[in-house]
């Protein structure tokens, strides 16, 4: 498989990650955060948040479409971050949903493309028709995803 991805950095808690997209639009700082969430029933999971850093406004720009011609490389980088995060939080359940349906579809395309590599390492479920989470299958459209690392040691 193609291992081409961006170098990234992380904070001491392994919750915040940064990397720089590099393409025709220049260098753009990307931020990924795994936010711990506790439900009313005290269940803990992590939301995977992903966006561009707006230096001028000192905040994440959620709806910007960068189009830096490196979507594949960015997806591979985020996949590497998920691997690192789950090394440090081995039982963590991660929830992911794009800021728009187009972004969720992009996540889905990445999951479809790398399904052979993902399936041995992760249990993956998709939300269908605002109804329930079901086991992920290629070719079905989902509205959100939850993923948990299987007990496989890669180190």
């Amino acid at each position: 498989m193609n291992l081409d991805r961006y170098e990234f950095s992380w904070d001491n808690d392994w919750l915040d990650f940064e990397f720089y997209s590099d393409g025709p639009k220049g260098k753009i700082k990307k931020v990924v955060r795994f936010s711990e969430v506790t439900t009313e029933k005290r269940t803990v999971f992590y939301n995977l948040g992903f966006g561009d850093w707006n230096e001028e406004e000192q905040r994440i720009d959620d709806f910007i479409v960068t189009d830096n011609k490196d979507a594949e490389k960015v997806l591979r980088t985020v996949a590497s971050l998920v691997l690192q995060f789950t090394e440090h939080y081995p039982g963590a359940i991660i929830f992911a949903k794009g800021s728009s349906s187009a972004r969720t579809r992009r996540y889905q395309m990445g999951l479809n493309k790398y399904w052979k590599e993902i399936e041995p390492l992760f249990s993956l479920f998709g939300l269908v028709e605002d109804r329930e989470f079901v086991r992920f299958k290629k070719g079905i459209n989902y509205e959100a995803f939850v993923i948990q690392r299987k007990k496989v040691n890669l180190s």
Binding site: E7, D16, S35, T39, N47, F95, S123, E132, R135
Partner: protein
């Protein structure tokens, strides 16, 4: 994703540059709130072993 040979677990000391704390960023706060609503509505898949607080 990575195979066993291609993958290396990183340590905090290896971080190439200092990363700021984004926990208070409104975007991430809002995303987490939306995620909580969805999971409280639909629950997590029973097949997953969720941690309790």
């Amino acid at each position: 994703m990575a195979s066993k040979k291609e993958y290396k677990k990183l340590s905090a000391a290896e971080a190439p540059w200092k990363v700021r704390d984004y926990s208070k960023d409104p975007f991430f706060v809002q995303k987490a709130a939306t995620a909580r609503q969805i999971i409280e509505k639909h629950g997590l898949p029973k097949e997953l072993s969720a941690k309790k607080k």
